[in-house]
Amino acid sequence: MGRYILRRLISAIPVLLGITVIVFAIMSLIPGDPATAILGAYATPENVARINRDLGLDQPAIQRYFIWLGNMLTGEFGRSYSLNRPVLDEILDRFGATLILAGTAFVLCAVLGVLAGVISASRQYGWADKAITFAVIIGISIPSFFLGMLMILIFAVRLKWLPVSGMYAIYGGGGLGDLLTHLIMPAFALAVVATGVVAWLSRGAMLEVLRQDYIRTARAKGVPERRVLMGHALRAAMVSIIPVLGLQAGFVLSGAVYIETVFQWPGIGRMLVDAILKRDLLLVQGGVVFVAAIYVLFNIAVDVAQSMLDPRIKT
């Protein structure tokens, strides 16, 4: 198992190197440059040249790539021109916020999704199954940012139960309760689509397992139905549910871009959108590489978990 993990980690290195090349190339190739973004209408060739010199952008792209890569390997991500602070400080600040939001959404989608799938499968074509299936289809079809706006209008503007946006209250905030009030709506909006997908696929996986002989045997033996479902069936179904959860983690992470914008959540998704619009090269590059690394690591963890659950998967 240790060797398997190590092998997977080593195989992640070319993936991450490839990502650095792609993100660097994209940022170099898209039209518009930081100097134009800074100067706007005042971007004379002379002013642009001066800013490019100040930012070190007057060197050839290949050279800049290797300087950037070399610096990053030593943990030096450079300085964001648009925020005027070190890129890594900003990423770490922001990533914590995204982790809270995406993590909560992920837990919500995993727990609620699997639970809904199990309930649905255990009474196929019953009213609970129909209700859940209906809810799942609606959940999958509503764009999350639209759901977010709708929730803001109902729960914040109309009912005034919850704050509109942000992560903490501007005044007198900061505690766990304050964080939770701000977290409820964005986490829920972010989790809805993923919950639907997880529920749908869990239902399928459970139905598959529930038709197996050993389930019939367990039932015949008089094992309580709850244990049959949660113990015997779900455990076997988890092997096909876990990879779906791994995919949903990526979905939740990328969905955070919209949700963070709607709810002004100070996370990394919103940071990347702002940075791209401002052509903040180092911030975009550093942010994308960081998120990609997290995602790759998470997927390795999912694969490892799966191989632990299912001995048939070669390690």
Partner: protein, 525 residues
Amino acid sequence: MRQFSLTRRFLLTASAATLATAALLRPAMAQTPPGVLIVGQIAEPKSLDPQAVTAANDFRILVNLYDGLVRFKDGTLEVEPALAESWEISEDGKTYTFKLRPGVSFHDGTPVDAEAVKFTFDRMLKEDHPFYNTGPFPLAFFFSSVENVEAVDPATAVFTLNEAYAPFLSNLATPTGAIVSPAAVEQHGADFGRNPVGSGAFRFAEWRSNEAVVVEGNPDYWDGAPPLQAVVFRPITDANTRTAEMLAGGIDVMVEVPPVSLSQFQSGYRIVEAAGPHVWYLMLNMKEGPFTDQRVRQAVNYAVDKEAIANNVLEGTATVAEGPIPAAFGWAYNPDVAPYPHDPEKARALLAEAGVAEGTKLKFLVTEGGSGMLDPVAMATAIQADLAAVGLDAEIQTYEWNTFLGEVNPGLEGKGDMAEMAWMTSDPDTLPFLTLRTAAMPDEGGFNSGYYSNPDVDALLEAARVATDQAARADAYKQVQQIVHDDAPWLFVANWKQNAVTSEAVENFALQPSFLLNLHKVAKN
């Protein structure tokens, strides 16, 4: 039936928990205390170093933290004394001697003296200055005519210019001319932008990344302590979320209200408007194609219903533009020049006279959005429809803002017949000088991307720039307005009225034509 009861129990527990949470949370939604003003901004500031930023969004904070030698008089674009009590301009317009206000200190307690003035400008302008590397300073060219700054004695600063440059005082009144604390720059270096120290009505308290910038009232302010205890600037980039925060009471002031949201604030709120030195226009390609003919350029000015754009597309948040110098400039504005009326018949007649065939194609470069561009796609569509009504077939090409600037700034030749553009400036000189002179063609580093050239305009702008007498300057700009209006190198469309909404608890709130948000006198009950 056992699982059924489980589900029901689960549902019951879950709803009880939700209700309990909701009940617990309600007291946490307390309103902000009186004396603390929360301003909904459109973005996180880049920096609070006044020389390092360019965005109106950042200037709104800076103007409250810092003072310049001079400032814009309330409600106008005329300068009045600020940190400088008085000044003298030499006969040749090249030497400015400022007498500083005595006894003024920065928020860190160090004195605002002539050395601080010299430090501020040397840091921005001299590449060998030890703190030049705390830049880049993108708007340093506002002061490119400054050759030298000398601290004659603690209360006297002398600026020597390499040529007479009349907009110098207006530029000093912008945040780019704000005086910074040398001690703070020395202490924080490149992080000065996150630890700003000025001498303004508010002093910096806290910057919580992506959440808020907090400033506190300065009780020792030379112009009187502000009534507000503190101001919190919150970045809320999404316009819908900003509107929702305002409706839910999460912010007290909202700037740049989207025109479509204004109707939601008709009662229980105050809507504030102010005309600004802003021009929204289409530059026309005078080097090639139909717009080489003055009659065709005038024809499109007649063809487009600017009133309808201002009132319907922009919901009354703009007025119709007459020429390159907007009414907000007051002293330099020519009230005798009226906008081209909407007259499709006249447009058709002019086009026929110029021999432009029905269905002539025009390439129209449009941006999706950008600084001061208002609602560029909807406006372009309205213009396209008006041009179609007089037989011109405008084909819209849409670009993201930075890409758009990269296309348009180097000149329209070979790219299109017309392009959208908008400018916000603080001196009547800036826009025509950078965009309408023969010497400002793109290949010479200017923004005359439509290739307009009129020797009379060139001469008037040069004369206005070196004149030290304001009446003489005003006269030159009034003539420029008339000539450019008639030559029609642009399709003049709109002057934006900036707007804001405040809650009823906010008093003495006003918007300035300079687009700066001065909160010194504002109170909240």
